[in-house]
């Protein structure tokens, strides 16, 4: 298993081990599924205590290309509960700059999870993005094929 690993697989294997051993609070990875296919992970995320999402749980899907970590992972919310949030579309697409323009190979699955937890936790009012209906109808299945406009608001 180890000898034929590509650099991206080696890196993902390392990240997976670290996430299993030392996950951020409220975050857990489906280890069995990830071990079967290192290029696609499901991550469970609990809404943080004291936030609008307390008591809710969410699922994130991470897809990696063989150019990871130079290519960013494709990250979407999946499953029956998509968080209602100004930067999360009802099809699960997330508008977060580190997933596209500001991705760096020094970031990681863990850093992305922490960023999403923080994005949810700082929300003051649960509402969908203003352009949700239009976007969901016309977008590509892959959120990385959307050209996002990032403006630094603190929501």
């Amino acid at each position: 298993m180890t000898s034929a690993m590509s650099p991206s697989e080696r890196r993902l294997q390392k990240e997976l081990m670290s996430l299993i051993k030392d996950p951020p609070p409220g975050v857990s990875v489906d280890a069995e599924q990830a071990e079967q296919n290192l290029l696609q992970w499901t991550i469970h995320m609990e809404g943080a205590t004291g936030t609008l999402y307390e008591g809710e749980s969410f699922q994130l899907q991470f897809k990696f290309s063989n150019k990871y970590p130079f290519d960013s992972p494709e990250v979407t919310f999946v499953g029956s509960n998509i968080p209602v949030h100004p930067h999360v579309y009802s099809n699960g697409h997330i508008c977060l700059s580190i997933l596209t323009d500001d991705w760096s190979p020094a970031l990681s699955v863990q850093a992305v999870c922490l960023s999403i937890v923080s994005m949810l936790s700082s929300c003051r009012e649960k509402q969908q993005p203003p352009d949700n209906a239009f976007y969901v109808k016309t977008c590509n299945k892959n959120p990385k094929k959307t050209k996002w406009w990032y403006h630094d608001d603190s929501v």
Partner: protein, 268 residues
């Protein structure tokens, strides 16, 4: 992490379908592919006068090429992929150090200790290690070759293998980011707008393919303890290329040619 820019999709112009996005991105990818297939990451040595062929009929540029050719004999082109400064700077620094064992050794020691500095600044150890290990691995491979010409050939090979070359670029980006953050009081005056030095590093220094400005160069020079002279060639008036030493007043050991948004390596 809460300060990361967040946003909404680019759907403000409702007449355009989102497929427009796909077309733009597909076109960008096609251009990137054409560039990567036609220009090596770091090219072979060629005479500075070879620049003339790019500017036939353009008197301003031709005069500047002549001026440049009077100061420098040859150059190496680098691939214009947004990483050119970092790639050119690391390559040129190492190429020079290979001819001086003593300086190479102190550079090696500096590199060896750099991981701890980055960890102290809050970089995640296990993502960092990948890049650090490759960086040190390359330095070790070069150090083990006794013949300078052989070592330089190895350097050239390594820098043209994307797997190694990009790892070297990432590590220098991280070292540059660390330098900026260590001296954030000084560097904050060079950043426009509301961004903090840390934000700037996350958005403009650490991500691959983002172009380098003065501020990147100053910090990279300081991180590698190396002085650089940049020769500027643009459409500005006059027949001579202007030059700038960074840090100011240094004795430059690396010479780079700057043409709008691109850096190549120059040799005296």
């Amino acid at each position: 992490m809460g300060d990361v820019g967040q946003s909404t999709a680019n759907t403000s112009n409702k007449e355009m379908t989102s497929n427009q996005d796909e077309l733009i991105l597909a076109q960008q990818r096609q251009i990137e592919k054409e560039i990567s297939e036609s220009i090596p990451l770091v090219g072979e040595l060629e005479p500075v006068t070879s620049l003339s062929s790019e500017y036939s009929g353009d008197d301003i540029y031709l005069a500047k090429v002549n001026d440049l050719a009077a100061k420098y004999s040859s150059m190496r082109r680098t691939r214009p992929d947004g990483n050119c400064f970092f790639r050119a700077f690391t390559y040129a620094t190492l190429e020079r150090l290979l001819g001086n064992k003593e300086e190479f050794n102190s550079f090696y020691k500096l590199a060896e200790n750099s991981k701890n500095v980055l960890v102290e600044l809050g970089f995640q150890q296990f993502t960092l290690e990948d890049f650090y290990d490759t960086y040190m691995d390359v330095l070790k491979r070069l150090a083990d070759i006794d013949n300078v010409d052989d070592a330089r050939r190895e350097l050239h090979t390594v820098f043209n293998e994307q797997g190694y070359s990009d790892y070297m670029v990432v590590y220098l980006r991280l070292l540059t980011s660390a330098q900026l953050q260590k001296e954030k009081d000084f560097y904050s005056c060079f950043i426009e707008g509301e961004r903090t030095v840390a934000d700037f590093c996350h958005q403009e220094v650490e991500p691959m393919y983002k172009d380098s400005d003065h501020i990147h160069i100053m910090a990279a020079c300081s991180a590698l303890n190396t002085g650089v002279r940049v020769l500027y060639m643009d459409r500005g008036t006059g027949n001579i290329v202007t030059q700038h030493d960074l840090p100011e007043g240094c004795t430059p050991t690396v010479h780079l040619l700057y043409r709008p948004s691109h850096y190549d390596i120059l040799y005296v």
